[in-house]
């Protein structure tokens, strides 16, 4: 099997369509993960065990099982209990939910990274608890978390091919379809690799730039 330029060239427009779906799913999934992750974190810190323990168990469970299987369940089982969402919406929710368990960890370590002295100072000033969160803790916990959150967005981008199992025509689905019709996989799959790099490398670079601005530069050892 040698490289077929014509075929690669013909595949490109279809693959770009798939890339559009992939990017859209990633963006929407990221938005969900960012919000839901924070909600999970706050619920895990709740003083009521009736909230914190089930949340903790749920988050650990989602985090330790494959997205692929979760997508199957969401896609085929949700409708049986009467929740009818489009394949794309199901995929985005699956991605967002799965990655919320990661962002939740990021937020948690960000919050734990705020020195105990800040909590104590807030208490010494008798600030109400909502105010402590919004004006003292979160403003300090979130910025250092941004690079890690960015990295998860990139990771999510690379996992969108799994949406292929629930009929979302993203990049890999397009490639599989092309391959099945023409029985040439080398070109579409290689092009996917290149397209992924084209998107993920600049994003990773941006994230690292942010990281550098926030963390002191690495030093010689």
């Amino acid at each position: 099997m040698t490289w077929d330029w014509d075929y690669a060239w013909d595949s490109l427009p279809l693959l770009l369509d798939g890339l559009g779906v992939t990017v859209l799913a990633t963006l929407a999934g990221t938005a969900i993960a960012l919000v839901l992750g924070l909600v999970f974190t706050l619920m895990r810190r709740s003083s009521s065990r009736w909230i914190s323990i089930p949340t903790e168990v749920f988050v650990e469970f989602i985090r330790s099982t494959p997205l692929l299987v979760q997508l199957f369940v969401l896609f085929f089982v949700l409708p049986e209990v009467g929740v009818q969402l489009s394949a794309f919406a199901t995929g985005v929710i699956g991605l967002g939910l799965h990655y919320a368990t990661y962002t939740s960890e990021v937020y948690r370590s960000g919050i734990e990274g705020v020195p105990a002295g800040q909590w104590e100072a807030a208490k010494a000033l008798n600030l109400p608890s909502r105010r402590v969160w919004t004006s003292v803790i979160l403003p300090q916990a979130v910025p250092p978390s941004i690079p890690a959150l960015g990295n998860y967005a990139i990771a999510m981008f690379k996992e969108t091919p799994q949406l292929t199992v629930i009929t979302v025509m993203e990049l890999l689905s397009v490639a599989r379809q092309l391959g099945a019709e023409n029985y040439r996989y080398l070109e579409p799959v290689t092009l996917i690799g290149v397209l992924f790099l084209l998107v993920s490398l600049p994003t990773a670079w941006l994230v690292r730039r942010m990281e550098r601005r926030m963390v002191p530069a690495p030093r010689p050892v």
Partner: protein, 272 residues
């Protein structure tokens, strides 16, 4: 099992190497009734069962089946992961450019899988073209996908990754009808006797004025013409003496699925 590096050499001696080994690697795609793992956990299906008999006659005692994703069958054959594709794969001109096929062991008319009572009232792909609100479910990489594309159904296609995903998809209202061969769908529905589903009568789709009758066959690497011909000879002998139908009948094949078409006819690209 390690990949057979020598399998890449050109020429027709693969068969003798297989005979020396006493074992042939066959690729199946886990699709009933063509090649699949049954509920007892055995690998079976019309193609593996035919292959077992034919290879025995060719002097190869053991068969080592390897189950893989349908989409990976051809690439894996090409790099020598296995020696034959025994998955009832349809012969298409595009595929003929990649691999060699034997003569077909069956021909397959089409059916639609629809919810019980057929609420959308569709019986063929043409019906679906006419009713704009019907979403058609298709199996990734299948010939039906190509037909649907040619009929302009792309926007209403829902691509499933397996037959059972399609079946679950109809139940979950992810699509309104699932288009596949009668054989596959009859088999799938038989495993879910309680599901509120039904099959439309078999039909032969007509795409751009031409009857499309899917014909499944065994696949070989392009440099294995001698091997293929030897296999083909045994296959045609079985066809002639009725052994073929007897072997595949338990998998739901009937007289109407038997074919006289040849690989040479089916490989001719008429669409260009």
């Amino acid at each position: 099992a390690p990949v057979d590096l020598t399998a890449q050499d050109a020429g027709g001696d693969l068969l003798s190497r297989i005979r020396d080994r006493g074992e042939v690697n066959i690729g199946i795609a886990n699709e009933s009734p063509y090649g699949f793992v049954d509920s007892a956990g055995r690998i079976t299906g019309e193609a593996p069962e035919l292959a077992r008999i034919i290879f025995q006659r060719l002097g190869v005692e053991r068969m080592n089946p390897r189950v893989t994703d349908f989409g990976s069958l051809i690439p894996a054959l090409q790099v020598g992961v296995f020696d034959v594709i025994a998955a009832g794969m349809f012969i298409t001109p595009a595929r003929c450019k990649q691999i060699l096929f034997s003569d077909p062991e069956y021909q397959a008319p089409q059916t639609l899988l629809v919810p019980k009572g057929n609420p959308k009232g569709v019986n063929t792909l043409d019906d679906i073209v006419a009713k704009k609100d019907v979403r058609v479910g298709l199996l990734t990489g299948s010939a039906e996908t190509t037909y649907a594309d040619a009929l302009g159904l792309k926007d209403r296609s829902v691509i499933f990754d397996s037959v059972f995903s399609g079946l679950d998809g109809i139940l979950a209202n992810r699509a309104d009808a699932f288009a596949l061969t009668t054989i596959s769908l009859r088999d799938a529905v038989s495993k879910r006797p309680d599901a509120p589903l039904e099959l439309t009568p078999a039909y032969v789709p007509i795409i751009e004025g031409e009857q499309k009758l899917g014909c499944g066959a065994f696949g070989f690497r392009r440099d294995q013409r001698v091997f293929r011909d030897a296999f083909n000879a045994e296959l045609n002998r079985m066809r002639a003496n009725g052994e073929l139908l007897a072997t595949v009948r338990p998998f739901g094949f009937t007289e109407s699925e038997m074919t006289k078409l040849t690989v040479a006819e089916l490989c001719t690209d008429t669409s260009s």
